[in-house]
Symmetry: C2
Subunit: 272 residues, 2 copies
Amino acid sequence: MTKQQLTENILAKKSYLCVGLDTDLGRIPQHLLSESDPIFAFNKAIIDATEDLCVAYKPNIAFYEALGAKGWESLQKTLDYIPDNIFTIADAKRGDIGNTSRLYAKAFFETMNFDSVTVAPYMGVDSVSPFLEFENSWVILLGLTSNKGSRDFQFASQDGQMPLYEKVMRTARTWGTDENLMFVIGATHPEKFAEIREIAPDNFLLVPGVGAQGGDLAGLSKYGMNESVGLLVNSSRGIIYAGDGKDFAEKARAAAQKLQEEMAELLQEKFG
Amino acid sequence: MTKQQLTENILAKKSYLCVGLDTDLGRIPQHLLSESDPIFAFNKAIIDATEDLCVAYKPNIAFYEALGAKGWESLQKTLDYIPDNIFTIADAKRGDIGNTSRLYAKAFFETMNFDSVTVAPYMGVDSVSPFLEFENSWVILLGLTSNKGSRDFQFASQDGQMPLYEKVMRTARTWGTDENLMFVIGATHPEKFAEIREIAPDNFLLVPGVGAQGGDLAGLSKYGMNESVGLLVNSSRGIIYAGDGKDFAEKARAAAQKLQEEMAELLQEKFG
Protein backbone atom coordinates (compact mmCIF):
# COMPACT_ATOMS: atom_id res chain seq x y z
CA MET A 1 0.00 0.00 0.00
CA THR A 2 1.35 3.46 -0.90
CA LYS A 3 1.39 6.45 1.39
CA GLN A 4 -1.28 8.12 -0.73
CA GLN A 5 -3.58 5.09 -0.52
CA LEU A 6 -3.16 5.00 3.23
CA THR A 7 -4.07 8.68 3.54
CA GLU A 8 -7.08 8.18 1.26
CA ASN A 9 -8.27 5.28 3.39
CA ILE A 10 -7.94 7.39 6.52
CA LEU A 11 -9.92 10.28 5.08
CA ALA A 12 -12.59 7.97 3.66
CA LYS A 13 -13.06 6.09 6.92
CA LYS A 14 -12.52 9.18 9.10
CA SER A 15 -10.18 7.03 11.15
CA TYR A 16 -6.47 6.59 11.73
CA LEU A 17 -7.09 3.77 14.14
CA CYS A 18 -4.88 0.68 14.18
CA VAL A 19 -6.28 -2.27 16.13
CA GLY A 20 -3.59 -4.29 17.86
CA LEU A 21 -4.19 -8.03 17.80
CA ASP A 22 -2.39 -8.99 21.03
CA THR A 23 -4.42 -12.16 21.19
CA ASP A 24 -3.81 -14.18 24.32
CA LEU A 25 -5.37 -17.58 25.12
CA GLY A 26 -5.48 -16.53 28.77
CA ARG A 27 -7.61 -13.45 28.04
CA ILE A 28 -10.01 -14.36 25.24
CA PRO A 29 -13.58 -15.34 26.19
CA GLN A 30 -13.84 -18.84 27.60
CA HIS A 31 -16.48 -20.02 25.13
CA LEU A 32 -13.95 -19.68 22.28
CA LEU A 33 -11.56 -22.18 23.83
CA SER A 34 -13.55 -25.10 22.39
CA GLU A 35 -12.97 -23.84 18.82
CA SER A 36 -10.37 -25.71 16.75
CA ASP A 37 -8.32 -22.48 16.49
CA PRO A 38 -9.46 -20.16 19.31
CA ILE A 39 -6.91 -17.47 18.41
CA PHE A 40 -8.15 -17.21 14.85
CA ALA A 41 -11.80 -17.44 15.94
CA PHE A 42 -11.22 -14.47 18.25
CA ASN A 43 -9.34 -12.43 15.64
CA LYS A 44 -11.96 -13.15 12.99
CA ALA A 45 -14.73 -11.86 15.27
CA ILE A 46 -12.68 -8.76 16.16
CA ILE A 47 -11.96 -8.05 12.48
CA ASP A 48 -15.63 -8.50 11.51
CA ALA A 49 -16.62 -6.11 14.28
CA THR A 50 -14.05 -3.38 13.60
CA GLU A 51 -12.94 -3.43 9.95
CA ASP A 52 -15.07 -0.41 8.97
CA LEU A 53 -13.69 1.61 11.89
CA CYS A 54 -9.95 1.13 11.47
CA VAL A 55 -7.34 1.44 8.72
CA ALA A 56 -4.74 -0.97 10.09
CA TYR A 57 -4.36 -4.19 12.07
CA LYS A 58 -1.24 -4.92 14.05
CA PRO A 59 -0.74 -8.49 15.21
CA ASN A 60 1.83 -8.51 17.99
CA ILE A 61 4.05 -11.37 16.86
CA ALA A 62 5.10 -12.42 20.37
CA PHE A 63 1.59 -13.59 21.15
CA TYR A 64 1.67 -16.00 18.19
CA GLU A 65 5.28 -17.07 18.60
CA ALA A 66 4.58 -18.05 22.21
CA LEU A 67 2.29 -20.79 20.85
CA GLY A 68 4.91 -22.34 18.57
CA ALA A 69 4.09 -23.61 15.07
CA LYS A 70 0.36 -23.54 15.82
CA GLY A 71 0.59 -19.85 16.61
CA TRP A 72 2.14 -19.14 13.23
CA GLU A 73 -0.76 -20.91 11.56
CA SER A 74 -3.25 -18.76 13.47
CA LEU A 75 -1.27 -15.69 12.44
CA GLN A 76 -1.27 -16.65 8.76
CA LYS A 77 -5.02 -17.31 8.83
CA THR A 78 -5.59 -13.96 10.52
CA LEU A 79 -3.50 -12.15 7.94
CA ASP A 80 -5.33 -13.87 5.08
CA TYR A 81 -8.64 -12.82 6.61
CA ILE A 82 -7.82 -9.10 6.88
CA PRO A 83 -9.37 -7.23 3.91
CA ASP A 84 -6.81 -6.16 1.28
CA ASN A 85 -7.48 -2.46 1.69
CA ILE A 86 -6.48 -2.50 5.36
CA PHE A 87 -2.81 -1.90 6.20
CA THR A 88 -1.13 -4.75 8.07
CA ILE A 89 1.69 -4.37 10.56
CA ALA A 90 3.81 -7.24 11.86
CA ASP A 91 4.77 -5.86 15.27
CA ALA A 92 7.94 -7.89 15.54
CA LYS A 93 10.71 -5.42 16.46
CA ARG A 94 13.27 -7.41 14.49
CA GLY A 95 16.79 -6.35 13.48
CA ASP A 96 20.01 -8.31 12.92
CA ILE A 97 23.07 -8.37 10.64
CA GLY A 98 22.30 -7.92 6.95
CA ASN A 99 21.87 -11.50 5.77
CA THR A 100 19.64 -12.22 8.78
CA SER A 101 17.49 -9.10 8.51
CA ARG A 102 16.95 -10.05 4.87
CA LEU A 103 15.42 -13.33 6.05
CA TYR A 104 13.20 -11.61 8.60
CA ALA A 105 12.05 -9.32 5.80
CA LYS A 106 11.36 -12.37 3.68
CA ALA A 107 9.41 -13.97 6.52
CA PHE A 108 7.09 -11.01 6.95
CA PHE A 109 6.89 -9.60 3.42
CA GLU A 110 6.98 -12.77 1.31
CA THR A 111 6.12 -15.83 3.39
CA MET A 112 3.37 -13.87 5.14
CA ASN A 113 2.69 -10.82 2.94
CA PHE A 114 2.46 -8.13 5.64
CA ASP A 115 2.51 -4.50 4.44
CA SER A 116 4.98 -3.49 7.14
CA VAL A 117 7.13 -4.68 10.00
CA THR A 118 8.44 -2.93 13.11
CA VAL A 119 12.24 -2.90 13.30
CA ALA A 120 14.68 -2.09 16.14
CA PRO A 121 17.51 0.33 15.28
CA TYR A 122 20.34 -0.67 17.67
CA MET A 123 22.39 -2.55 15.05
CA GLY A 124 22.33 0.29 12.52
CA VAL A 125 22.16 0.56 8.76
CA ASP A 126 22.69 -3.00 7.57
CA SER A 127 20.12 -4.29 10.08
CA VAL A 128 17.43 -1.97 8.68
CA SER A 129 18.22 -1.56 4.97
CA PRO A 130 17.30 -5.12 3.91
CA PHE A 131 13.72 -4.44 5.02
CA LEU A 132 13.66 -1.28 2.86
CA GLU A 133 14.56 -3.20 -0.29
CA PHE A 134 11.18 -4.91 -0.64
CA GLU A 135 8.77 -3.11 -2.97
CA ASN A 136 5.44 -1.90 -1.61
CA SER A 137 6.65 -2.72 1.89
CA TRP A 138 7.27 -0.51 4.88
CA VAL A 139 9.72 -0.40 7.76
CA ILE A 140 8.33 1.03 10.98
CA LEU A 141 11.46 1.85 12.96
CA LEU A 142 11.51 2.30 16.73
CA GLY A 143 12.04 5.99 17.49
CA LEU A 144 10.71 6.95 20.91
CA THR A 145 8.87 4.06 22.48
CA SER A 146 5.89 4.20 24.83
CA ASN A 147 7.29 2.17 27.71
CA LYS A 148 9.03 3.06 30.95
CA GLY A 149 12.35 1.71 29.62
CA SER A 150 12.32 4.32 26.83
CA ARG A 151 14.00 6.55 29.43
CA ASP A 152 17.02 4.27 29.85
CA PHE A 153 18.79 5.00 26.55
CA GLN A 154 16.57 6.84 24.08
CA PHE A 155 16.84 10.27 25.72
CA ALA A 156 20.61 10.36 26.28
CA SER A 157 22.41 13.01 24.25
CA GLN A 158 24.53 11.54 21.44
CA ASP A 159 27.97 13.14 21.18
CA GLY A 160 26.45 16.25 22.74
CA GLN A 161 24.25 16.80 19.71
CA MET A 162 20.81 15.28 20.10
CA PRO A 163 19.02 12.49 21.96
CA LEU A 164 19.36 8.94 20.67
CA TYR A 165 15.78 8.75 19.36
CA GLU A 166 16.40 11.89 17.29
CA LYS A 167 19.70 10.56 15.96
CA VAL A 168 18.00 7.30 15.02
CA MET A 169 15.25 9.16 13.18
CA ARG A 170 17.56 11.60 11.37
CA THR A 171 19.97 8.85 10.39
CA ALA A 172 17.25 6.47 9.23
CA ARG A 173 15.70 9.18 7.04
CA THR A 174 18.89 8.97 4.96
CA TRP A 175 18.25 5.21 4.49
CA GLY A 176 14.60 5.33 3.45
CA THR A 177 11.93 7.75 2.31
CA ASP A 178 8.49 8.76 3.53
CA GLU A 179 7.19 6.16 1.06
CA ASN A 180 8.81 3.20 2.84
CA LEU A 181 9.77 4.35 6.34
CA MET A 182 7.58 5.16 9.35
CA PHE A 183 8.56 5.62 12.99
CA VAL A 184 7.16 4.27 16.26
CA ILE A 185 6.52 7.20 18.61
CA GLY A 186 4.82 6.37 21.90
CA ALA A 187 1.63 8.20 22.85
CA THR A 188 3.00 8.46 26.37
CA HIS A 189 5.25 11.32 25.22
CA PRO A 190 2.58 13.74 23.84
CA GLU A 191 4.77 16.77 24.58
CA LYS A 192 7.27 15.46 22.03
CA PHE A 193 5.08 15.38 18.93
CA ALA A 194 5.75 18.96 17.79
CA GLU A 195 9.48 18.27 17.92
CA ILE A 196 9.05 14.87 16.25
CA ARG A 197 7.33 16.62 13.33
CA GLU A 198 10.34 18.89 12.91
CA ILE A 199 12.62 15.84 12.76
CA ALA A 200 10.39 13.84 10.40
CA PRO A 201 7.84 16.15 8.77
CA ASP A 202 6.61 13.71 6.13
CA ASN A 203 6.90 10.23 7.64
CA PHE A 204 3.91 8.40 8.99
CA LEU A 205 4.11 7.69 12.73
CA LEU A 206 2.80 4.54 14.38
CA VAL A 207 1.65 5.61 17.82
CA PRO A 208 1.13 2.94 20.47
CA GLY A 209 0.24 3.65 24.06
CA VAL A 210 -3.27 5.12 23.82
CA GLY A 211 -5.59 3.16 26.10
CA ALA A 212 -3.99 0.68 28.50
CA GLN A 213 -0.74 2.68 28.56
CA GLY A 214 -2.49 6.04 29.12
CA GLY A 215 -1.56 8.23 26.11
CA ASP A 216 -3.60 11.31 25.12
CA LEU A 217 -5.14 11.13 21.63
CA ALA A 218 -6.15 14.78 21.22
CA GLY A 219 -2.78 16.13 22.33
CA LEU A 220 -0.65 13.92 20.14
CA SER A 221 -2.97 14.40 17.16
CA LYS A 222 -2.86 18.19 17.40
CA TYR A 223 0.92 18.25 17.06
CA GLY A 224 1.51 14.98 15.22
CA MET A 225 -0.87 15.30 12.29
CA ASN A 226 0.60 16.47 8.98
CA GLU A 227 -0.87 17.14 5.53
CA SER A 228 -1.08 13.39 4.83
CA VAL A 229 -2.56 12.82 8.29
CA GLY A 230 0.66 10.94 9.03
CA LEU A 231 -0.63 9.07 12.08
CA LEU A 232 -1.66 5.51 12.81
CA VAL A 233 -2.77 5.38 16.42
CA ASN A 234 -2.87 1.92 17.91
CA SER A 235 -5.02 0.51 20.64
CA SER A 236 -4.76 -3.16 21.52
CA ARG A 237 -6.00 -4.26 24.93
CA GLY A 238 -8.39 -1.28 25.25
CA ILE A 239 -10.32 -2.57 22.23
CA ILE A 240 -9.93 -6.33 21.98
CA TYR A 241 -10.45 -6.99 25.69
CA ALA A 242 -13.19 -4.38 26.20
CA GLY A 243 -15.49 -7.32 26.96
CA ASP A 244 -14.87 -10.89 28.05
CA GLY A 245 -18.26 -12.50 27.51
CA LYS A 246 -20.21 -13.71 24.49
CA ASP A 247 -20.68 -10.08 23.47
CA PHE A 248 -16.91 -9.41 23.34
CA ALA A 249 -17.01 -8.41 19.67
CA GLU A 250 -19.77 -5.84 20.23
CA LYS A 251 -17.85 -4.43 23.19
CA ALA A 252 -14.71 -4.27 21.04
CA ARG A 253 -16.67 -2.48 18.34
CA ALA A 254 -17.98 0.06 20.84
CA ALA A 255 -14.45 0.75 22.14
CA ALA A 256 -13.10 1.11 18.59
CA GLN A 257 -16.01 3.36 17.64
CA LYS A 258 -15.34 5.66 20.57
CA LEU A 259 -11.79 6.22 19.34
CA GLN A 260 -12.88 6.48 15.70
CA GLU A 261 -15.42 9.18 16.55
CA GLU A 262 -12.82 11.17 18.41
CA MET A 263 -10.49 10.78 15.40
CA ALA A 264 -13.26 11.92 13.03
CA GLU A 265 -13.55 15.14 15.01
CA LEU A 266 -9.80 15.69 15.05
CA LEU A 267 -9.64 15.09 11.28
CA GLN A 268 -12.56 17.49 10.79
CA GLU A 269 -10.69 20.20 12.69
CA LYS A 270 -7.62 19.74 10.49
CA PHE A 271 -9.06 18.90 7.07
CA GLY A 272 -12.58 20.35 7.29
CA MET B 1 22.56 -24.53 32.71
CA THR B 2 24.55 -22.63 35.37
CA LYS B 3 27.64 -20.55 34.71
CA GLN B 4 29.74 -23.10 36.54
CA GLN B 5 28.40 -25.97 34.43
CA LEU B 6 29.15 -24.02 31.27
CA THR B 7 32.72 -23.38 32.37
CA GLU B 8 33.15 -27.05 33.29
CA ASN B 9 31.91 -28.11 29.88
CA ILE B 10 34.33 -25.73 28.19
CA LEU B 11 37.31 -27.01 30.17
CA ALA B 12 36.31 -30.64 29.65
CA LYS B 13 35.86 -30.27 25.90
CA LYS B 14 38.74 -27.79 25.53
CA SER B 15 36.39 -25.69 23.46
CA TYR B 16 34.35 -22.52 23.79
CA LEU B 17 32.95 -22.95 20.32
CA CYS B 18 29.34 -22.19 19.53
CA VAL B 19 28.08 -23.51 16.20
CA GLY B 20 25.55 -21.22 14.55
CA LEU B 21 22.71 -23.05 12.83
CA ASP B 22 21.89 -20.48 10.12
CA THR B 23 20.31 -23.20 8.06
CA ASP B 24 19.16 -22.01 4.64
CA LEU B 25 17.32 -24.15 2.07
CA GLY B 26 19.22 -22.27 -0.63
CA ARG B 27 22.61 -23.31 0.74
CA ILE B 28 22.27 -26.84 2.11
CA PRO B 29 23.45 -29.71 -0.09
CA GLN B 30 21.04 -30.53 -2.91
CA HIS B 31 20.69 -34.18 -2.00
CA LEU B 32 18.99 -33.23 1.27
CA LEU B 33 16.14 -31.43 -0.48
CA SER B 34 14.32 -34.72 -1.06
CA GLU B 35 14.11 -35.36 2.70
CA SER B 36 10.74 -34.75 4.38
CA ASP B 37 12.35 -32.05 6.54
CA PRO B 38 15.59 -30.95 4.83
CA ILE B 39 16.35 -28.30 7.45
CA PHE B 40 16.22 -30.79 10.30
CA ALA B 41 18.10 -33.43 8.27
CA PHE B 42 20.91 -30.92 7.74
CA ASN B 43 20.97 -29.78 11.38
CA LYS B 44 20.95 -33.36 12.62
CA ALA B 45 23.98 -34.21 10.49
CA ILE B 46 25.80 -31.06 11.63
CA ILE B 47 25.05 -31.81 15.29
CA ASP B 48 26.19 -35.44 14.93
CA ALA B 49 29.42 -34.22 13.33
CA THR B 50 30.27 -31.43 15.79
CA GLU B 51 28.70 -32.15 19.21
CA ASP B 52 31.98 -33.30 20.78
CA LEU B 53 33.76 -30.17 19.51
CA CYS B 54 31.44 -27.41 20.69
CA VAL B 55 29.68 -26.35 23.90
CA ALA B 56 26.78 -24.42 22.37
CA TYR B 57 24.45 -24.35 19.37
CA LYS B 58 22.86 -21.14 18.20
CA PRO B 59 19.95 -21.46 15.78
CA ASN B 60 19.43 -18.12 14.07
CA ILE B 61 15.68 -17.76 14.41
CA ALA B 62 15.24 -15.72 11.21
CA PHE B 63 16.18 -18.71 9.09
CA TYR B 64 13.35 -20.77 10.59
CA GLU B 65 10.82 -17.97 10.77
CA ALA B 66 11.31 -17.30 7.04
CA LEU B 67 9.78 -20.75 6.41
CA GLY B 68 6.62 -20.09 8.41
CA ALA B 69 5.00 -22.73 10.62
CA LYS B 70 7.07 -25.50 9.00
CA GLY B 71 10.25 -23.69 9.99
CA TRP B 72 9.17 -23.63 13.62
CA GLU B 73 8.66 -27.37 13.51
CA SER B 74 12.18 -27.86 12.13
CA LEU B 75 13.48 -25.60 14.89
CA GLN B 76 11.69 -27.54 17.61
CA LYS B 77 12.99 -30.86 16.27
CA THR B 78 16.51 -29.43 16.12
CA LEU B 79 16.30 -28.18 19.68
CA ASP B 80 15.00 -31.55 20.90
CA TYR B 81 17.90 -33.27 19.16
CA ILE B 82 20.65 -31.18 20.76
CA PRO B 83 22.17 -33.11 23.70
CA ASP B 84 21.11 -31.77 27.12
CA ASN B 85 24.63 -30.86 28.20
CA ILE B 86 25.09 -28.44 25.30
CA PHE B 87 24.04 -24.83 25.83
CA THR B 88 21.35 -23.61 23.43
CA ILE B 89 20.95 -20.04 22.23
CA ALA B 90 17.88 -18.70 20.43
CA ASP B 91 19.47 -15.96 18.36
CA ALA B 92 16.31 -13.90 18.09
CA LYS B 93 17.27 -10.35 19.13
CA ARG B 94 13.85 -9.75 20.63
CA GLY B 95 12.75 -6.90 22.91
CA ASP B 96 9.40 -5.13 23.41
CA ILE B 97 7.24 -3.63 26.15
CA GLY B 98 7.00 -5.70 29.32
CA ASN B 99 3.92 -7.80 28.66
CA THR B 100 5.21 -8.61 25.17
CA SER B 101 8.78 -9.44 26.17
CA ARG B 102 7.27 -11.80 28.74
CA LEU B 103 5.61 -13.70 25.89
CA TYR B 104 8.81 -13.84 23.85
CA ALA B 105 10.51 -15.22 26.94
CA LYS B 106 7.75 -17.77 27.27
CA ALA B 107 8.14 -18.71 23.58
CA PHE B 108 11.85 -19.43 23.88
CA PHE B 109 12.16 -20.64 27.49
CA GLU B 110 8.91 -22.57 27.94
CA THR B 111 7.35 -23.45 24.59
CA MET B 112 10.79 -24.31 23.20
CA ASN B 113 13.06 -24.79 26.22
CA PHE B 114 16.13 -22.85 25.03
CA ASP B 115 18.79 -22.08 27.64
CA SER B 116 19.17 -18.50 26.42
CA VAL B 117 17.89 -15.88 24.03
CA THR B 118 19.56 -12.84 22.48
CA VAL B 119 17.79 -9.58 23.36
CA ALA B 120 18.03 -6.03 21.92
CA PRO B 121 18.42 -3.20 24.46
CA TYR B 122 16.87 -0.16 22.74
CA MET B 123 13.59 -0.25 24.72
CA GLY B 124 15.30 -0.43 28.12
CA VAL B 125 14.60 -2.11 31.42
CA ASP B 126 11.06 -3.42 31.03
CA SER B 127 11.92 -4.92 27.63
CA VAL B 128 14.79 -6.96 29.12
CA SER B 129 13.74 -7.77 32.69
CA PRO B 130 10.95 -10.23 31.80
CA PHE B 131 13.56 -12.50 30.20
CA LEU B 132 15.61 -12.37 33.40
CA GLU B 133 12.75 -13.67 35.52
CA PHE B 134 12.89 -17.22 34.17
CA GLU B 135 14.91 -19.62 36.30
CA ASN B 136 17.91 -21.37 34.76
CA SER B 137 17.58 -19.13 31.72
CA TRP B 138 19.92 -16.54 30.27
CA VAL B 139 19.58 -13.21 28.51
CA ILE B 140 22.33 -12.48 26.00
CA LEU B 141 22.01 -8.73 25.51
CA LEU B 142 23.40 -6.89 22.48
CA GLY B 143 26.39 -4.84 23.56
CA LEU B 144 28.77 -4.12 20.69
CA THR B 145 27.67 -5.97 17.58
CA SER B 146 29.87 -7.36 14.81
CA ASN B 147 28.28 -5.64 11.84
CA LYS B 148 29.05 -2.47 9.92
CA GLY B 149 25.95 -0.76 11.34
CA SER B 150 27.37 -1.12 14.87
CA ARG B 151 29.10 2.19 14.06
CA ASP B 152 25.85 4.09 13.54
CA PHE B 153 24.71 4.39 17.15
CA GLN B 154 26.66 2.10 19.48
CA PHE B 155 29.83 4.22 19.64
CA ALA B 156 28.21 7.63 20.22
CA SER B 157 28.98 9.16 23.60
CA GLN B 158 25.97 9.18 25.94
CA ASP B 159 25.54 12.47 27.80
CA GLY B 160 29.29 12.98 27.40
CA GLN B 161 30.01 10.01 29.67
CA MET B 162 30.55 6.80 27.72
CA PRO B 163 29.59 5.16 24.43
CA LEU B 164 26.13 3.66 24.08
CA TYR B 165 27.38 0.04 24.15
CA GLU B 166 29.11 0.73 27.48
CA LYS B 167 26.06 2.45 28.92
CA VAL B 168 23.92 -0.52 27.84
CA MET B 169 26.29 -2.95 29.52
CA ARG B 170 26.71 -0.97 32.75
CA THR B 171 22.99 -0.35 33.04
CA ALA B 172 22.04 -3.95 32.26
CA ARG B 173 24.44 -5.24 34.90
CA THR B 174 22.15 -3.58 37.46
CA TRP B 175 19.20 -5.62 36.06
CA GLY B 176 20.82 -9.06 35.99
CA THR B 177 23.81 -10.95 37.33
CA ASP B 178 26.64 -12.91 35.79
CA GLU B 179 24.46 -15.97 36.44
CA ASN B 180 21.69 -14.87 34.06
CA LEU B 181 23.13 -12.16 31.81
CA MET B 182 25.68 -12.38 29.00
CA PHE B 183 26.56 -9.82 26.33
CA VAL B 184 27.01 -10.02 22.57
CA ILE B 185 30.37 -8.52 21.63
CA GLY B 186 31.41 -8.77 17.99
CA ALA B 187 34.74 -10.38 17.11
CA THR B 188 35.22 -7.60 14.57
CA HIS B 189 36.19 -5.24 17.41
CA PRO B 190 39.11 -7.23 18.92
CA GLU B 191 40.77 -4.04 20.20
CA LYS B 192 37.77 -3.53 22.52
CA PHE B 193 37.95 -6.73 24.53
CA ALA B 194 40.29 -5.43 27.25
CA GLU B 195 37.93 -2.50 27.85
CA ILE B 196 34.88 -4.78 27.69
CA ARG B 197 36.39 -6.88 30.50
CA GLU B 198 36.69 -3.76 32.66
CA ILE B 199 33.01 -3.00 32.07
CA ALA B 200 31.81 -6.57 32.61
CA PRO B 201 34.52 -8.60 34.33
CA ASP B 202 32.39 -11.62 35.20
CA ASN B 203 29.76 -11.93 32.49
CA PHE B 204 30.06 -14.47 29.71
CA LEU B 205 30.37 -12.92 26.24
CA LEU B 206 28.85 -14.39 23.11
CA VAL B 207 31.21 -13.45 20.31
CA PRO B 208 29.95 -13.65 16.72
CA GLY B 209 31.95 -12.57 13.71
CA VAL B 210 34.79 -15.10 13.61
CA GLY B 211 34.91 -16.71 10.16
CA ALA B 212 32.70 -15.18 7.45
CA GLN B 213 32.78 -11.78 9.15
CA GLY B 214 36.58 -11.83 9.65
CA GLY B 215 37.15 -11.59 13.43
CA ASP B 216 40.43 -12.64 15.09
CA LEU B 217 40.11 -15.52 17.60
CA ALA B 218 43.54 -15.26 19.26
CA GLY B 219 43.30 -11.50 19.79
CA LEU B 220 39.86 -11.45 21.30
CA SER B 221 40.59 -14.53 23.44
CA LYS B 222 43.74 -13.01 24.92
CA TYR B 223 41.87 -10.00 26.25
CA GLY B 224 38.35 -11.44 26.57
CA MET B 225 39.01 -14.58 28.60
CA ASN B 226 38.37 -14.41 32.33
CA GLU B 227 38.71 -16.90 35.21
CA SER B 228 35.52 -18.70 34.11
CA VAL B 229 36.69 -18.61 30.49
CA GLY B 230 33.76 -16.27 29.92
CA LEU B 231 33.65 -16.65 26.14
CA LEU B 232 31.40 -18.42 23.69
CA VAL B 233 32.81 -17.81 20.22
CA ASN B 234 30.37 -18.44 17.42
CA SER B 235 30.98 -19.53 13.86
CA SER B 236 28.03 -20.21 11.58
CA ARG B 237 28.64 -20.13 7.84
CA GLY B 238 32.35 -20.95 8.21
CA ILE B 239 31.41 -24.31 9.73
CA ILE B 240 28.04 -25.40 8.42
CA TYR B 241 28.74 -24.44 4.80
CA ALA B 242 32.38 -25.59 4.77
CA GLY B 243 31.29 -28.17 2.19
CA ASP B 244 28.30 -28.43 -0.11
CA GLY B 245 28.45 -32.03 -1.27
CA LYS B 246 27.59 -35.39 0.28
CA ASP B 247 30.58 -34.97 2.62
CA PHE B 248 29.24 -31.66 4.02
CA ALA B 249 29.13 -33.01 7.59
CA GLU B 250 32.76 -34.16 7.47
CA LYS B 251 33.80 -30.78 6.07
CA ALA B 252 31.83 -29.06 8.82
CA ARG B 253 33.55 -31.23 11.40
CA ALA B 254 36.96 -30.36 10.00
CA ALA B 255 36.18 -26.63 10.13
CA ALA B 256 34.88 -26.94 13.70
CA GLN B 257 37.90 -28.97 14.72
CA LYS B 258 40.27 -26.34 13.37
CA LEU B 259 38.67 -23.73 15.63
CA GLN B 260 38.45 -26.14 18.57
CA GLU B 261 42.15 -26.94 18.33
CA GLU B 262 43.04 -23.28 18.30
CA MET B 263 40.77 -22.80 21.34
CA ALA B 264 42.42 -25.73 23.14
CA GLU B 265 45.78 -23.98 22.75
CA LEU B 266 44.43 -20.67 23.97
CA LEU B 267 42.84 -22.39 27.00
CA GLN B 268 46.11 -24.20 27.68
CA GLU B 269 47.97 -20.87 27.73
CA LYS B 270 45.51 -19.45 30.25
CA PHE B 271 44.61 -22.42 32.46
CA GLY B 272 47.56 -24.73 31.92
